[in-house]
């Protein structure tokens, strides 16, 4: 195994790089995805995000991904896809322009400004969130009346208009209806007592080894299943073996069970 991917060594290497001021501190856990990494990198350029150098950003990101990959061998695919796209975009931005714009791909400058736009937008949203949570938040910065009058005056004009609640209100009765109509039939089984009575009556005639399937009562038009007849008869027979009235034998697992009255020579 390559010694380089040992965590301690990597940690040292990262520290050295950081101290030398050339390394990136790569902490993937701090980022949700490639766009968030790009935004942080773009902010470090300290220019209007819309006028940002995409080629420089691409270099920074590729360096980040290289480092991240060294530390986290299983770097998420979306980071790598973004790296590949940026490398491609950078190469196209650096290439001399074609005489006529080709149709198959959008102009690299447009792709670059799209990226700048997305970063500016994400940045704006992050700042907006900060502004929102930095404003007058109820019960953190401003406080309502702590002890409203016992006869509270409540707003008349507020009724929830929430589609999700409406949906939930629709689903509940629909599913409730189906619950009501589901009535599983209780399974009828051959009672052990009945099986015992049945066997008792048969024992005097069981002078030869007789298969269980023959001894068990036949199924009727309604009532217990055949499996229930066989199972209950077997259970009852085991009990009667214990009591000494019956003998059982089976030649192999899962093969037919034979019954015979006890004491037959």
């Amino acid at each position: 195994m390559n010694v380089q991917i040992q965590p301690t060594l990597d940690f040292e290497a990262a520290m050295v790089a950081a101290v030398e001021g050339e390394g990136l501190i790569v902490d993937l856990d701090g980022y949700e995805g490639p766009l968030h990494v790009l935004l942080d990198l773009a902010r470090s350029q300290k220019v209007d995000l819309l006028k940002l150098s995409v080629t420089r950003l691409a270099d920074q990101y590729l360096a980040f991904v290289r480092e991240a990959r060294r530390l986290h061998f299983s770097l998420a695919a979306d980071y790598l896809v973004m790296a590949a796209w940026l490398a491609f975009l950078k190469s196209r931005l650096l290439l001399p322009k074609a005489e006529r714009p080709t149709q198959e791909a959008e102009a690299p400058e447009v792709a670059a400004s799209q990226l700048a736009f997305r970063l500016a937008k994400l940045d704006a949203m992050r700042r907006a969130a900060e502004a929102l949570f930095g404003g007058s938040v109820l019960r953190r910065d401003v406080f309502p009346r702590g002890d409203p009058e016992s006869v509270t005056v409540v707003s008349l004009t507020r009724i929830r208009g929430d589609v999700r609640e409406l949906m939930a209100a629709y689903v509940q009765p629909r599913l409730r209806g189906t619950d009501h109509s589901y009535r599983p039939k209780p399974i009828e089984s051959y009672r052990l007592d009945d099986a015992r009575e049945h066997l008792k009556a048969l024992i005097p005639g069981l002078t030869e080894w007789t298969p269980l399937s023959v001894v068990a009562p036949a199924r009727r038009a309604s009532g217990p299943t055949r499996a229930s007849y066989v199972a209950s008869t077997l259970s009852a027979s085991l009990e009667m073996v214990r009591e000494g009235g019956l003998e059982l034998r089976q030649f192999a697992p899962l093969s037919e069970v034979y019954l015979r009255a006890a004491g037959v020579a």
Binding site: D147, E149, V151, V153, I159, G161, M167, P173, G177
Partner: protein, 216 residues
Amino acid sequence: MTAMNDAARMIEALLFAAAEPLSQRDLSDRLPDGVDVDAELRALVAHYDGRGVQLVEVAERWRFVTAADLAFLMTRERVEPKRLSRAAHETLAIIAYHQPVTRAEIESIRGVQSSAGTLDVLLELEFIRMRGRRRTPGRPVTWGTTDHFLEHFGLVSLSDLPGVAEMKASGLLGLNLPPGFDVPDPSAAVVDEDPLDPADAPEFHLDFLGDRETGN
């Protein structure tokens, strides 16, 4: 603007936000040192004298109360419900999805008899309306939603109501749906309905009450 010193502002805010009346001791514990709580309270009482809110002392504790002569304002009963009851919510949802739908159909979907009050509440809120009459024996009245309903729920049209896919995506429906479970498209064309004719309107109350008695 009424000029006010910091200590008075603090006392005003503390008394306003407190969940129970505060004593002078409570106040001075929460205020910076050196505040003459007693003097500030007197000044505040004077400030609020004659206003809609009064600062009063009860059992050596201080609190704001509304002026006694305005008590009549506070006793006003509320007419409209703030939150729809579960029955009303379900009925509204069923009408929205199944419209035009008769009262008997609503009841059969809900599995319980609707009280006349439920439809009344929805009518009063202008969420539902009579749409027409079903072409079946008895010609029962059919119900549908109003434009106000759409507006209120932020829907552009009835076809914007979320369907089965969204119900599943939001976790409201499990994956093993009962056989035959479907959600109707309320924007689909309707065939078996007659428009309301003007003569229907006065009968409305009759239909409504009659429905209740014959509902099963």
